[in-house]
Amino acid sequence: MGTDKSDRGAAKTEKTLLQVTGLKQHFRVAGERAPLKAVDGVSMYIQKGETFGLVGESGCGKSTIGRTILRLYEPTDGVIEYDGVDITHVNMKPYRKRMQIVFQDPYSSLNPRMTVGDIVGEPLDINKTYRSKKERYDVIADRLNLVGLNTEHMNRYPHEFSGGQRQRISIARALALNPEFIVCDEPISALDVSIQAQVINKFIELRQDLGLTYLFIAHDLAVVRYISNRIGVMYLGRLVESAGADELFTHPAHPYTQALLSVIPIPDPKMNTRPDRIILEGEVPSPISPPSGCYFRTRCRYATPLCAEQTPVMQEIGAGHWAACHGLNGTA
């Protein structure tokens, strides 16, 4: 995918908070001549107040996108614009306050030797946002309250909390500096089902109360549908389809999205024996030596010779519904 206008996902609007164009993130791998193309030309946008869900299987680059957007990795190519400013190469210090992240594993993302108060207070210390100890205390207390914890918890250590509570602490830390945008990188995958719902509700409540914008990365498709306004589907470092959450689930256009949605196990016995189930053969190819043309063609039941020759570009097939597949033009 190039950076021409046709694959930008959509035109930039007033309300766009984040716009990524032709983003590439390649990593060097020891012993390999070719780089590992974790993200290979992704264009997308996120509007203010919106939750953009990013789904895909492990190794498809969804977490890498989240981290590259925050410039935790330096992008190989492409442009990241935040609130109208190109931040691809700028000093991130002023933006760190505005863009935060919640990681997947609440066990390893909290320092076991720091108290909860210090964990939530550390962003404040680094950015020197308070004038008195009292002010610092008040902010920490406020953030803990927001996530359903209280001041008694401030002097405790992470190991004293359950997984769900730890994830709340991570969220409180992310909220410490009043950010506008949070990358949620599989924030509920490590939690038990009954606890997942608590944390999802908390994310939704905070979005409403604080006007937050989320990039919500997850592999649980039902959860992503539930929380997101729009969803992007990734395969092997590329975005293959993006659309409004319900549109994507009711009218998936890309063969990969169709297969992915068809195999979600559903608890309802009547719904479970779906005749349209598509079980993909084989596995995701290596991102070090991906196939030519369309990356999905090796597992696609509609693949034609054209798919091996040309990389399909994103095209708008309905209002706000974009997909990259030769089959959409009747050429495959």
Binding site: D192, S194, I195, Q196, F249, T250, A259, L260, P267, E283
Partner: protein, 343 residues
């Protein structure tokens, strides 16, 4: 108990009143607290529960693989006419891998990285049969192609690291089924796999079940997977079975508040965005189990009796059992003493 076990002749497995505790420096962790159930030949039973519900520990005991400081405190386990708990370890070695085999959650760590796939497959087969090395190799290759691995002869020579997660899980299944076990225990077999690979593995397990008639115990936290594969389901909480029944019973005629809670907190795959109803609170502390019902502190229908007395099992439908005091209130029924068996 022995008469009980012999009673159900088609029962492959009969577990009665199983109690398992871990004696840790912090105290006695009561992981399993009085679990009774049976399994028929060829049946597929799903065990659902969250972490710490005792679902894995109870099957570990059945393999007699419970590690120190864990111990079976009370109860009996009868498998195929044998009292598992009194079997000497030499006998257990014959049962494990032959009559009962197991697939673990993490295919990355359950194969030995320093031996080839073939080596590990052949070892399992020869351990339990009088086959020659070359016959066992042949059997291994057959098993690998049965589970859908291309070029099995070449794969036999490879080491685990050369295979992807999905492939390794296929190897595990091939290994588990290589001695035609009577019971296959699958402990979260797809949890660490991607959705599309999970679909492949579930389809494979279904096919294997049809072709070999092996009974399967599937441990999972995902109700969707249970529906896909199982005949019967047991829901566990705090080391107890709180509800058991057919997949339809559990989904359409949900009886126990915990099962209801579990189903309610899943986002429906639909356009509705009704708020999720999480189960409030945190899982119980197994070091300090509350008196009465283990779920009482998180239950929105908790009554006085729930805090005082452990609820008995109530038969709420044909083969559908739920352990909750609500059932006395609802229909004045006294179904005490029913076990989560096949009825």
């Amino acid at each position: 108990m022995s008469a009980d076990a012999l009673d159900g002749r088609d029962h492959l497995l009969n577990i009665q009143n199983l109690h398992i505790s871990f004696f840790t420096p912090a105290g006695e962790v009561k992981a399993v607290n009085g679990v009774s159930y049976t399994l028929r030949k060829g049946e597929v039973l799903g065990i659902v529960g969250e972490s710490g519900s005792g679902k894995s520990v109870s099957v570990t005991a059945l393999m007699k693989l419970l590690a120190y400081p864990g111990r079976v405190v009370d109860g009996s386990i009868w498998f195929d006419g044998k009292d598992i708990l009194v079997q000497p370890s030499r006998e257990m070695q014959k049962i494990r891998g032959k009559d009962i085999s197991m697939i673990f959650q993490d295919p990355m760590t359950s194969l030995n990285p320093v031996y080839t796939i073939g080596n590990q497959l052949i070892e399992t087969i020869r351990r339990h049969s009088a086959m020659s090395n070359s016959a066992a190799r042949q059997r291994g290759i057959e098993m690998l192609s049965l589970v859908g691995i291309n070029n099995p002869a070449r794969r036999m020579r490879q080491y685990p690291h050369a295979l992807s997660g999905g492939m390794r899980q296929r190897v595990m299944i091939a290994m588990a089924l290589s001695c035609s076990p009577k019971l296959l225990i699958a402990d979260e077999p797809t949890t660490s796999l991607d959705v599309t690979i999970q679909a492949q593995i579930l389809a494979l397990m279904k096919k294997m079940r049809q072709e070999t008639g092996t009974a399967i115990m599937l441990i999972t936290h995902d109700l969707g997977i249970v529906t896909e594969l199982c005949d019967r389901v047991m829901i566990m909480y705090a080391g107890k079975i709180v509800e058991s029944g057919s997949v339809e019973d559990i989904y359409y005629r949900t009886s126990h508040p915990y099962t209801k809670g579990l189903l309610d907190c899943l986002p429906q795959n639909s356009e509705e965005r009704a708020p999720l109803r999480p189960i409030e609170g945190n899982p119980v502390d197994l070091l300090d189990l509350p008196k009465g019902c283990g779920f009482a502190s998180r239950c929105d229908k908790c009554m006085k009796i729930c805090l005082r007395e452990t609820p008995p099992d109530f038969l709420v439908g044909d083969g559908h059992v739920s352990s909750c005091w609500l059932h006395t209130v609802q229909n004045g029924q006294d179904g005490r003493g029913n076990h989560h068996g096949n009825g």
